[in-house]
């Protein structure tokens, strides 16, 4: 990836120095810059747990009925790290059930709260990173998903998992084509209808409009108490981010700029659908894997979050034509995968193989983008594949977790499974923060968890 932070590899710098020990000051500075480089981060959220017996490789083998496609892929398997033993570590007994608990807590580290319905109890790690780190990408964060639509009260919180703060849910963007326009549209060559001067004037006008909006917000901010000010703070931050994107030349990976400017979805005319309508779910899942890979390869988003459906999803998976599938996967399969229902178990495995296939596809797509230094977009990314539950019947012990990608060298080693016993899930957020260059000792309500034990971080 030819982003500025990867212009000089450590090896190149050392070779330039002519010695592994004598490094001139300007190169030490370059090392320092490299030290703060960070991977593109993608957080995936699956629902309804997995079949534990078929998920984790056994013994010393790298073989798993569910993960076989992922682990045996020649490019993606060696870049995959499994984290076994993650336990959803709740502080209390929050409202709702395992779906709500994991949905809201896996990436936030805190219990969900009630806002009439279970809702996120604090900021998710993507939003924390966006607030704390200086991302250079045009978009600090982007949240998208498939079939995450409109719900009744009891499930309103399950429409989206990232939160800016307690109860302030980041909306899930569903329209794949609108997202292409949003992400890549700005990279398209502008029509030369008025020349550069006209473009500069228009930019100045838009900046002026946004400045006025920001001033209106600041005035409003000054009139509010602390609780209400949170709303305006988030709004103001959004305006500033948007202005930044407008003001800077939106450069994707320069080496790939023309390619990025012409990025398009491989399939047209697949509309997002509402709750319960899975007609396009499969096509959209694949299109979103493609979008994520394209966005990462073009370095357009700092942290990209994606949800396969909503919390406690009720997909029927008709497109998979799985023998033994029952009327409702959620109720009739996942909830019944309790060790005594062989049909439920076999369907659960097939459904989870489907998700593993999507993650494999994402990895393959990332691996297909070579970088100038010989690495691939997969090497410079960290894809976290998480799940709201450990098992279909709402188990919270053993949440299936996989890291895919080299994390820009932040993972010292990949292609193995961390299996050192039970670890609290707050270690996930802590690990992510440290990998992303935000040193931290804990995450969520556990301030001293540290990152995952057994995971070798650079």
């Amino acid at each position: 990836m030819s982003r500025d932070r990867f212009q000089f590899s450590r090896r190149t710098l050392l070779r330039a120095a002519g010695s592994t020990l004598l490094v001139p000051p300007f190169l030490r500075h370059a090392f320092a810059q490299e030290a703060v480089s960070r991977p593109n981060l993608v957080l995936l959220m699956q629902t309804n747990g997995t079949n534990q017996a078929s998920f984790w490789p056994k013994g010393s083998t790298w073989d798993s009925p569910i993960l076989n496609e992922l682990l045996t892929d020649p490019k993606v398997g060696p870049k995959t790290t499994l984290i076994k033993g993650t336990k959803l570590n709740l502080k209390g007994s929050p409202q709702g059930n395992g779906h709500d608990w994991g949905w809201h807590s896996l990436y936030s580290g805190v219990d969900n709260i009630s806002k009439g319905a279970p809702a996120g109890g604090g900021p998710s790690v993507d939003q924390i990173l966006a607030q704390k780190l200086a991302f250079t990408q045009p978009f600090k964060t982007l949240h998208c998903g498939v079939n995450a639509a409109n719900y009744r009260l009891i499930n309103a919180g399950r429409a989206s998992f990232p939160c800016v703060s307690a109860g302030l849910q980041v909306p899930c963007e569903l329209d794949i084509y609108a997202l292409y326009t949003k992400l890549f549209g700005s990279l398209m060559p502008k029509p030369n209808d008025g020349g550069q001067a006209a473009a500069a004037l228009r930019l100045k006008q838009r900046q002026s409009v946004l400045d006025a909006v920001a001033a209106d917000l600041t005035t409003l901010q000054g009139r509010l108490g602390a609780q209400e000010r949170v709303k305006v703070d988030a709004h103001l931050s959004a305006v500033r981010d948007f202005e930044r994107r407008l003001s800077t030349t939106l450069s994707a990976d320069p080496a790939r700029a023309p390619e990025c400017a012409s990025m398009k979805p491989s399939k047209a005319g697949v509309p997002s659908t509402g709750q319960g309508n899975e007609a396009n779910a499969d096509a959209l899942n694949h299109l979103f894997m493609e979008l994520i890979a394209n966005a990462v390869a073009c370095n357009l988003v700092g942290v990209l979050t994606f949800q396969f459906g909503r919390g406690g999803e009720h997909f029927h998976f008709d497109w998979l034509k799985i023998p033994g599938m029952r009327a409702d996967f959620h109720d009739d399969i996942a909830h019944k995968d309790n060790g005594s229902d062989a049909t439920a178990a076999s369907v659960m495995v097939e459904v989870n193989k489907y998700y593993a296939g999507l993650v494999t596809e994402l990895g393959q797509r990332l691996a297909s983008f070579p970088q100038a230094d010989g690495t691939t977009a997969l090497d410079n990314s960290l894809v976290v594949w998480g799940n709201e539950l450990a098992t279909g019947p709402h188990g919270i012990d053993g949440v299936p977790l996989a890291f895919v990608g080299g994390a820009a060298g932040r993972l010292k080693r990949t292609g193995y499974m961390v299996d050192v016993g039970t670890q609290v899930h707050q270690r996930l957020g802590c690990t992510i923060q440290n990998v992303m260059g935000m040193p931290s000792d804990g995450f969520g309500w556990v301030t001293d968890s540290g990152p995952f034990a057994g995971l070798e971080l650079a």
Binding site: Q95, G116, A117, A156, Q205, R223, H394
Partner: protein, 558 residues
């Protein structure tokens, strides 16, 4: 005295029921759940001076607040400013917000995220570029500066529901000055106004010049009162008449507020607002979105869904416009469905030349549209229907299934495909297993009483060839007792004071865009008393709200 009665009913019927449920299964969070009406915490109720509409005023005021407009509301404002086509663009560009307890305007679920802000900014630029400047800002002089200034004032004040401050005028003027032509200047003002927080938020802050005094009472400005009224009854900023009333001080009195409310309710937008309330009260969404199993219900075609929707909408509108507009009428009126209805196959023998059989089809609960919406995707859904009555119509908060209950579900599954038992028989585990029974006993028996209507609202006496048992029972309410079928259930609910109090609670949620809390019990009690005493006219909910002192007062939160 009446307040005490309602509170007593609610406490004995609602909270004691819940306590049993929670006590058995745990995992609930009662302090954060919306309160049943009348469930006041002691010490939160007082009797301050003043008050309109015969209601007792309350000291515990809501805090100052801003609320982001819902997508629908924002589209309405844009429509007023730029025309209906612009509103369509808004609806296409902005995400649909969660519908919480039936309503789309709930403050806790609305905020301006990065994607939302960007969508609004892009939308504002697009709409500004398309705006018909000649129509919006006609200018016949060569010196266009006064025209721009005039446009900023008029357009801005319609958008914000108030006159612009000098700072706002100055900022807009500076932005307009960057336009290379008059038209571009106007477009830049439009682009600014459409994304300004002054349009995007409904403020409940009082005068900007009021001194800060923590916990002190803050009076909303007359413009804020007008916007509160207008967003409730028209879903948009105030019209000219309401703005004038605000300017002339007519909103300073309960009578003035009521007069404006009466005027607005008489308009189509007023009926639409009440319809929106009824739809939310019944927790209904579009039937076209209902996931129904094609195997179980192949008859649920787009045509049938559309006909169900039309019948449901028509019934609600008829009660509000042509009927007596009371809460009981929603339970007791026989739907006026004609024999030629596309739903004749659904109704079967219930629909004759003379109309629907009133012994089976009476009230909104007997409509196929409602019975379809509140059912499971593959069967009649006694749990869903029971919860509709218990949670939504009685406001008795049943917590979501806790982990322990879901573990039980995994071990005691209900098989939708089992054709050897009726739906009721399949759910027998709910009353046999203590951990299930703790909660399910409060709502399953209600749903069982509607078992004579299948998942599409078709009357039935058998299921899988087995006789259907549709004997149900209401417990823990002020209208306890057995019943059979939706008409009989409706007859009971029409008599329930708890249902009336619950409807008031729902109206509170719509009007204040948040669930009621402990501090709101006084207001709820007062409104409920007036509502019941006045014959439970839906419009009276509006009058009780807008004439209550809490309508125009807030607590200083700084």
């Amino acid at each position: 005295m009446k307040s005490a009665i309602w509170r007593s009913i609610a406490l004995s019927g609602g909270l004691s029921l819940l306590a049993g449920c929670q006590g058995s299964i745990g995992g609930a969070e009662p302090s954060s759940a919306p309160l049943p009406p009348g469930a006041a915490g002691s010490g939160s109720v007082a009797t301050p001076p003043g008050g309109g509409g015969g209601a007792t005023a309350c000291q515990a005021l809501p805090a100052r607040r801003i609320r982001r407009l819902a997508r629908r509301e924002y589209a309405n404002v844009v429509s007023d400013l730029l025309g209906a086509a612009a509103a369509d663009a808004v609806l296409a560009a902005l995400p649909v917000e969660p519908r919480v307890r039936g309503f789309d305007n709930q403050d806790a679920f609305l905020f301006v995220s990065g994607p939302f802000q960007e969508a609004v900014a892009e939308l504002a630029a697009t709409l500004a570029a398309k705006a018909d400047v000649a129509a919006l800002a006609p200018c016949s002089t060569s010196d266009t500066q006064p025209c721009v200034a005039s446009f900023i004032r008029s357009f801005g004040s319609r958008a914000y529901g108030r006159d612009l401050t000098q700072d706002e005028l100055d900022r807009a003027t500076s932005v307009a000055a960057l336009g290379e032509s008059f038209a571009v200047s106007v477009r830049l003002v439009i682009e600014l106004v459409l994304q300004s927080p002054n349009l995007l938020y409904l403020t409940e802050l009082g005068s900007p010049n009021a001194p800060v005094a923590a916990q002190a009472t803050v009076s909303l400005t007359s413009d804020e009162l007008a916007s509160q009224l207008s967003f409730l009854l028209a879903g948009t900023r105030p019209d000219v008449t309401l703005r004038e009333a605000a300017k002339n001080g007519q909103l300073a009195t309960a009578a003035g507020l009521r007069a404006q409310a009466e005027r607005m309710l008489a308009q189509p937008s007023g009926v639409a607002a009440l319809t929106r309330f009824i739809v939310g009260w019944l927790d209904l969404g579009p039937l076209s979105d209902m996931p129904k199993s094609a195997e179980a219900f192949p008859e649920f075609t787009d045509t049938v869904a559309s006909a169900m929707q039309a019948e449901l909408d028509g019934f609600v509108t008829e009660q509000l416009k042509g009927g007596d507009g009371t809460l009981p009428s929603f339970f007791t009126t026989v739907p006026a469905t004609a024999l030629a209805s596309p739903l004749s196959a659904i109704y079967g023998a219930d629909l004759q030349m003379s109309g629907l059989d009133p012994s089976r089809r009476r009230g909104v609960l007997s409509l196929p549209g409602l019975l379809t919406y509140h059912s499971a995707d593959a069967h009649s859904g006694p749990v869903e229907r029971g919860l509709l009555v218990r949670r939504q119509l009685l406001c008795q908060d049943v917590p979501p299934p806790p982990q322990s209950a879901l573990d039980r579900i995994a071990n005691l599954p209900v098989d939708d495909l089992d054709a050897a038992h009726t739906t009721r028989q399949k759910f027998a585990a709910h009353v046999n297993e203590p951990s299930c029974k703790a909660c399910h006993q409060s709502f399953d028996p209600i749903g069982f009483g509607l078992e004579d209507m299948d998942g599409l609202g078709r009357y039935r006496t058998t299921e899988h060839g087995l006789p259907v048992d549709s004997h149900g029972e209401l417990t823990g309410t002020d209208v306890d007792g057995p019943f059979e079928g939706p008409a009989a259930l409706s007859a009971k609910l029409a008599q329930s004071k708890q249902v009336a109090a619950c409807m008031v609670s729902h109206f509170f949620e719509l009007a204040l865009a948040r669930p009621a809390g402990v501090d709101d019990a006084c207001v709820l009690d007062a409104w409920t008393s007036d509502f019941v005493a006045g014959g439970q006219h839906i419009e009276d909910l509006v009058f009780a709200y807008v004439t209550h002192p809490a309508f125009g007062a807030r607590k200083d939160d700084r």
